[in-house]
């Protein structure tokens, strides 16, 4: 009898835990805030610990090659759905759990009360996110994308007001169409290759005939369009700034994470399917990704300069970050990708903190308060939640100003925080790859120039916003903040600082991640040869 070791089940838990927690939260009455909050936070803390454990297991040699495989329902790959944990997955899970925890704590005092079932939807969103990171099956990826999106539709409309409905309608319509593209892409890939397991697909690409090769290329491109809509590549990302600016602060912070899912999916699929072992299709579409990413970067920079309010500015900031990452994937090479992932970590944390911060700075100016009052009235909740401006913490303005400055430094990539380290190492890695003729291609120079221009645009826009909020608004009464609102932002900023201080170990980890990613053959061995649990029929065992 060869039973599955207990620790192996850790792989499926990041999907199961939020599902169960979300289901448990549904029957709890809306008026029992504390219970709902406690359940939700406990589960998210568990998820964080799980993600940390998976990261240690993937990096610490628990599995050969740092790749853990879980065969759902015990069907061997490629017939069943395989879940896969490698260093990249573990890292993304940890990032998700970190931001989710911060966002939940932030929403403790008000946001989870302006509408119903905030925590349920939040847990389902986490389930979708974790599932999308874990799965190694394209159709299963579609299912998790839909879980994530369905939850996000509800969350975008959380605190139902006119502005959110308008933005939500467009957000949902665009994502429904993107889902159709996703399905078409998956169907074409299946028609061409006869498999939906991503690793298996990567193995088969080189063996396909000419016709099937083309069908596959069209299929993956269609699939890519769906991912890039989520990742907001220009010209597919026009929905993003409006949606971000109108969503409530905690939801907007989670949306930042969702654009990264699109980027992650592109990275996974392209690295696996169009890597070096892909025969005729090796390197397919990478240049298009670079150029698209650069256009996105430019669009984001211009948009950031043009936007007036913080929410919209943060939306364009997310677009800049997506664009940079897509271009980096396009220019893929080992060390470049590691710097790109480092950039992803820092910028996602800072963007999430910034989204939360924008909401707090809005309280400095009276109009924000009026808007929230209308929201609450429109929703007509049974008992009015206590005012968020209760006890308050001292030194509010100093705290807001410092956090704002830290976020601005990371987002724009100025020294001394992690944004600078990321960009510096990115340039260093880009200029380090010497092509055969010894000359660095124009595309690389163009990308470097655009990243610098993007950083400049970001710092100008953020400085203007900062000056307007903190200095130019005349006599401002410092808003009173709850501890639960200040702590998550502090934590996220501290993580950015830690990333900078511990850049060495983090880069070592990322180098190992990328080294593992580029070896597609090990994935083939690990996933396709993962043995199913064999259990003897009961009468024989007795």
């Amino acid at each position: 009898m060869n039973a599955l070791p207990f620790l192996q089940h850790f792989i499926v838990l990041p999907i199961l835990l939020p599902l169960l927690a979300g289901a448990l939260l549904i029957p709890v009455k809306q008026s029992r805030y504390t219970l709902k909050f406690a359940l939700s936070v406990t589960n998210t803390v568990l998820l964080w610990l799980l993600a940390a454990a998976l990261l240690v297991m993937a990096d610490g040699g628990y599995w050969p090659d740092g790749i853990g495989v879980y065969l759902a329902a015990n069907w061997p790959a490629p017939f069943g759905i395989a879940l896969l944990v490698d260093r990249l997955t573990a890292l993304m899970l940890l990032l998700t759990a970190t931001i989710a925890l911060a966002v939940l704590v932030f929403s403790a005092k008000r946001w989870d009360r302006v509408g119903i079932q905030f925590h349920t939807l939040f847990q389902f969103l986490l389930m979708g996110l974790n599932g999308a990171f874990l799965t190694n099956d394209l159709f299963n990826l579609f299912v998790f994308f839909e879980v994530m999106l369905a939850a996000s539709y509800g969350l975008v409309l959380h605190g139902y007001n006119l502005q959110r409905i308008r933005a939500g309608m467009q957000y949902i319509a665009i994502n429904l169409v993107a889902s159709f593209l996703f399905l078409i892409g998956v169907a074409l890939i299946y028609a061409a290759s006869g498999t939906l397991n991503l690793t298996d697909l990567g193995m088969r690409v080189a063996l396909l005939g000419t016709e099937d090769t083309w069908l596959l290329a069209i299929g993956v491109t269609t699939l890519g369009l769906a991912f890039l809509t989520k990742g907001a590549m220009w010209p597919l990302g026009f929905w993003l700034p409006g949606t971000y600016a109108s969503a409530s602060a905690p939801v907007a912070a989670m949306l930042v994470l969702m654009t990264k899912v699109g980027v992650y999916a592109v990275l996974r699929v392209w690295m696996t399917v169009f890597g070096d072992g892909a025969g005729a299709l090796a390197g397919f579409g990478f240049t298009a990704l670079t150029i698209g990413g650069m256009a996105t970067l430019f669009f984001g920079a211009v948009g950031m300069l043009a936007s007036q309010d913080g929410g919209r500015m943060a939306g364009y900031g997310a677009i800049i970050s997506s664009g940079t990452l897509l271009a980096v994937i396009g220019l893929a090479g080992g060390p470049v990708l590691a710097s790109g992932l480092y950039y992803l970590l820092g910028s996602t944390l800072a963007m999430a903190a910034f989204m939360l911060l924008v909401e707090l700075t809005d309280r400095i100016r009276p109009p924000g308060a009026a808007l929230i009052a209308i929201t609450m009235e429109a929703f007509a909740i049974e008992d009015k939640p206590e005012d968020p401006v209760g006890q308050g913490i001292p030194g509010t303005l100093a705290f807001l100003g410092l956090s704002f400055a830290a976020c601005a430094l990371v987002i724009s990539g100025m020294p001394p925080l992690s944004g600078f380290v990321a960009k510096f190492s990115l340039f260093h890695a880009l200029l380090d790859i010497l092509p055969t003729d010894g000359r660095i291609p124009g595309l690389t120079w163009g990308f470097i120039a655009l990243v610098i221009v993007g950083g400049l645009a970001a710092i100008i826009a953020l400085m203007r916003l900062g000056v307007r909020i903190f200095w130019a608004s005349g006599d401002i009464a410092p808003p009173r903040l709850q501890f639960t609102e200040a702590a998550p932002i502090t934590a996220l900023v501290t993580f950015c600082v830690l990333l900078t201080v511990q850049a060495g170990p983090v880069f070592d980890y990322l180098d190992r991640t990328v080294a593992g990613l580029t070896q597609t053959s090990t994935y083939g061995e690990r996933v396709l040869q993962e043995p199913a649990v064999t259990r003897m029929p009961r009468q024989e065992a007795e």
Partner: protein
Amino acid sequence: MEIVIALAVGVMFGSGIWLILRPRTFQLITGLLLMSYAVNIFIFAMGRLSVDRPPITLSPDIDPSQFADPLPQALVLTAIVIGFATTALYLVIMIGARGLTGSDHVDGKEPRE
């Protein structure tokens, strides 16, 4: 048969695209529905079209070319369910928007004359 299916998918998807670019929510939802039908038939067709072939058999020694591919049928079922659910969700939001804005325009307000 191929040409009929291809035409059906093409016409439905094309009409869907035209409809989702229209300004009224009813046109939008009809367009989305048409597109989802087209996509479902497309997935089904990707398992190769065949007539009178059962998809599942228990016997291990068979000629697979005599059987239909069961996987796209499973996929299309999932896609139909998910498509229905998300479209229903969208319908609810549309009703909410209609109630809140008093207009069935996708921008939530009537265009200026």
